[in-house]
């Protein structure tokens, strides 16, 4: 940080000179377009580079360099022969994956869980943060904010255990209640039809509170004067939310939605692994669990990487498409 300050001081003089030339319009493009060579443009933006380069170098080293690992998806990795010595198998792992009778089932499970999650879970943090925003008494607001974060800190092991003690047909509280009301106990945990909803609800419980953080931060950045003006125009609270708050956080919502789509084939792996049991296997097996059992447990490293690769490809497609759509309707998109 000190370096930045020093650099700033040193170049201050120069800055005065080109300040005018550097006026920028809304998109960050120079208002006065000069015919400039690449070099001079780089020079022009040198401070920006100063700021940006550290992060980019980091990404280069720690995110791109390990990408050689993706190549292993096309080889049969054997640690003894090493990375270079392992033989190429081309698309074999992928064809194995697609040919696996369970492929379509995993695909279906993954998509369903994700869709349910998007529809049921995604809007909730938004709604809750709006609700919290409407709370006028600061201490009340603070306490509740702190409380709803808490479930995020529980491990899945604990949550699955809790789920068991609520819903088990032998000892679950819910079933005990049903029995006292003269209903039959329901096998929530071993019947396939409940599995997806259970997963989604667990997710909702765990992550909604934590998810409000970003939206609260976005709401905090809204210019308060907008509200003042609306109030003076006689707008009700609902109207204010609808016309001011929501549109102002729309970019955030869109961004998070697009990012979420990039992870479309990611399903909470630990959660599913813990919740799965042999009787619900048909609805529980997803790509992540498959990659784990085959890839790590059974030592077929390349297969695991291939599955990851496949998921990433799909995610990329979704991100790019969603971004394109977002831009089409006038949003910024992610790039």
């Amino acid at each position: 940080m000190l370096i930045y300050v020093l650099a700033y001081k040193l170049f201050r003089k120069e800055v005065f000179k080109i300040a005018e030339l550097n006026q920028i319009n809304r998109q960050g493009e120079p208002m006065i377009k000069k015919k400039s060579s690449l070099n001079s443009r780089i020079y022009q933006y040198r401070y920006l580079y100063l700021l940006t380069i550290p992060g980019l170098i980091y990404i280069l080293i720690f995110k791109f360099v390990p990408m050689w690992g993706l190549l292993l998806a096309f080889k049969e990795y054997n640690f003894y022969t090493g990375i270079l010595g392992s033989k190429w198998v081309g698309l074999k792992h992928f064809t194995d994956l697609f040919a696996d009778p369970f492929f379509l089932i995993m695909l279906r499970n993954t998509i369903v869980i994700n869709m349910l999650s998007l529809i049921l879970f995604f809007p909730l943090p938004i709604i809750i943060s709006l609700m919290l925003n409407e709370v006028r008494r600061a201490p009340f607001k603070r306490i509740m904010q702190s409380i709803i974060y808490l479930p995020h800190f529980l491990s899945w092991v604990v949550i699955v255990s809790l789920t068991f003690f609520m819903l088990s047909s032998n000892v679950g509280l819910v079933n005990k209640l049903l029995v006292t009301m003269n209903f039959q106990p329901v096998s929530f945990l071993t019947e396939k039809k409940f599995f997806w909803l259970l997963i989604v609800f667990q997710n909702i419980w765990k992550e909604t509170g934590w998810g409000t953080i970003l939206f609260l931060a976005a709401i905090a950045g809204i210019d308060v004067q907008l509200y003042e003006a609306a109030v003076m125009d006689g707008a009700s609270r609902m109207k204010q939310i609808w016309h001011i708050t929501l549109p102002s956080i729309r970019p955030t919502i869109v961004i998070l939605l697009i990012l979420r789509l990039g992870a479309i084939f990611d399903v909470g792996f630990e959660q599913v692994l813990l919740m799965a049991n042999p009787l619900v296997r048909d609805v529980a097996e997803v790509f992540d669990t498959y990659a784990f059992t085959q890839g790590i447990q059974n030592g077929q490293m390349s297969l695991g990487i291939a599955v990851g690769f496949f998921k990433s490809l799909v995610g990329l497609t979704f991100v790019l498409s969603a971004n394109y759509l977002a831009k089409k309707i006038g949003d910024e998109g992610i790039y």
Binding site: Y77, N78, F79, Y80, T81, G82, D100, V160, S161, F164, F165, S168, S169, N170, V171, V179, P185, S187, L189, T190, L274, N277, P278, L279, R281, D282, E285, F292, T293, Q294, I296, Q297, N298, G299, Q300, M301
Partner: protein, 505 residues
């Protein structure tokens, strides 16, 4: 005792690593190899990776100091939390980063097998020879210990000794007494006893909600012995059929199906996890559960908090093809030496391990130093507070240790009288029990490559058969289909060969 447990994705049995971390150890070591000052009586220094089951020990505490003194070693231990041993060890192996000695708990880890087959570890058959140089190995290990550690007739590791007796089918003795049922001695009597228990309202809450046989999956462990599933079974081509695909196993599934339909098993057993099962059992929700014998004392204590008078007993039940008793191999993992270690050092390391198999070091490993870690009370050794802290699962991983017949029978916290009674109760297990060789011993590479595709499906099918979602006919067809699978048939032949090798040594 479920044979599947060993295949669990977290590390089940851990090998006790030699602890004895040196206090003077540098913390910046990341790769294997230590410098050795070749003075003949300098302590032997080497690095070992092992699973950790407790608070990481301090190198300089009395236990380790004593251990290293007695063995004249300076050990550099790298600990991995037991739950993630498999993951981290795979990483280390796959990146070529293995230390000199590895204490591996699960011998069937595919990474380990690949490692062995690719020459990552020393073949120590030659070094061991006829064991004349290793007296403790000769006399203090479980029968056939080294056989269990061989691959293709070559020995690659020295064993982590554990007792063979482990699991027991437990039942609430006090409930049997209350209902005047004598202890069941056959599977039929067991079934009848469970029926009576389940239909009585023993906890007095007005509901017949007691579970008969509690389990967290289809409880094949222990019971499989009673149906002959652990007896070697050859198919028509002379291949050795894996336990799960034998006719005896199918008979067992059919029996469980009957039990389930009579309401004698937990309705949603498939969704119960291990710890939940323990919680359920220790709060008196179930009559019977299969688990390691030595838990009895602790569990009775917990049970007595809510149901005074509770008492657990382990049953010996006769089934159609023998008693329902399954034993471990007596070897719970092994110590593997990396090929990078020079030959001279290998010999010294083996001598060290031999010493750890002596009675003296074995006692040290189990009890620590007299009056520091334990006190003698009425002829029994009771651990002190410091003993509990320093002498534990982790520290027992310090060496091969002598084979301990009652290791999993004695409860560490129980008085001698209790443990003696337990010995009488289950002593017969060691004589009549059967071992599941497919658990850790017989190797077939084809099986390792082919079975993972079927594993989950098989578990699902057997569960569905038990709970009645599919008919027994469907299950049998499924099993036959697997038996006819050409890849699996090839695997069976490999097993047969492996078995021949096993018997011949």
């Amino acid at each position: 005792m479920n044979s599947k447990w060993v295949k669990n994705f977290s590390i089940s049995m851990s090998v006790f690593m030699l602890t004895g971390m040196l206090s003077g150890c540098n913390s910046s070591k990341s790769v294997s190899g230590t410098n050795e000052k070749d003075k003949s009586n300098a302590p032997l220094e080497f690095k070992m990776v092992a699973a950790l089951y407790s608070d990481p020990p301090s190198l300089s505490d009395p236990f380790w100091t004593e251990w290293q003194k007695k063995t004249n070693t300076k050990l550099d231990m790298e600990w991995i939390p037991s739950a993630d041993f498999q993951t981290k060890y795979s990483l280390m192996l796959n990146s070529g980063n293995i230390p000199e000695v590895s204490a591996v708990p699960d011998l069937r880890s595919p990474t380990l097998i690949t490692g062995i087959q690719n020459g990552a570890f020393w073949d120590i058959t030659g070094f061991l020879g006829d064991l004349s140089e290793y007296p403790n190995f000769k006399k203090n290990l479980a029968p056939d210990a080294f056989k269990y550690l061989s691959l293709d007739k070559k020995i690659y590791a020295v064993p982590r000794s554990r007792s063979r007796m482990d699991g027991g089918i437990k039942i609430r003795q006090d409930w049997l007494d209350k209902l005047n049922i004598p202890a069941p001695k056959t599977l039929d009597e067991y079934e009848a006893a469970l029926k009576k228990i389940v239909s009585s309202d023993l906890d007095g809450n007005g509901k017949k909600d007691t579970i008969g046989l509690l389990s967290s999956s289809v409880p094949t462990g222990m019971f499989d012995a009673a149906f002959g599933a652990l007896d070697p079974y050859n198919n028509a081509e002379g291949g050795l059929v894996e336990t799960r695909l034998t006719p005896g196993y199918t008979d067992m599934i059919e029996w469980f199906r009957k039990l389930y339909s009579e309401g004698l098993m937990a309705k949603e057993f498939a969704s119960i996890k291990d710890t939940q099962a323990i919680e359920l059992f220790t709060t008196g929700t179930a009559a019977s559960y299969t688990r390691s014998i030595w838990w009895d004392y602790e569990w009775e204590k917990t049970l007595n908090k809510t149901q005074p008078g509770a008492k657990l007993v382990n049953l010996t039940l006769q089934g159609p093809k023998g008693p329902a008793v399954e034993l471990n191999t007596g070897v719970a993992g092994g110590y593997y030496i990396s090929k990078k270690v020079p030959e001279e050092k290998v010999k010294k390391i083996l001598k060290y391990f031999d010493q750890t198999a002596s009675t003296e070091l074995n006692d040290l490993g189990y009890y620590g130093i007299k009056d520091v870690h334990y006190k003698e009370v009425d002829g029994a050794k009771i651990l002190t507070a410091q003993g509990i802290k320093e002498v534990n699962v982790t520290s027992k991983g310090a060496g091969v240790l002598a084979y301990s017949k009652w290791g999993k029978v004695w409860s560490a916290s129980a008085p001698k009288a209790y443990n003696d009674a337990k010995e009488k109760e289950v002593g017969i297990y060691d004589e009549v029990g059967k071992i599941n060789l497919f658990n850790n011993t017989l190797i077939s590479t084809t099986w390792g490559q082919t079975w993972p595709k079927f594993d989950d499906e098989f578990t699902a099918m057997q569960t569905k058969a038990v709970v009645g979602q599919i008919s027994m006919a469907e299950f049998k067809t499924y099993v036959k289909k697997l038996n006819d699978n050409p890849d699996l048939q090839k695997a069976f032949k490999e097993f047969a060969q492996s078995y021949k090798d096993f018997l011949s040594k």
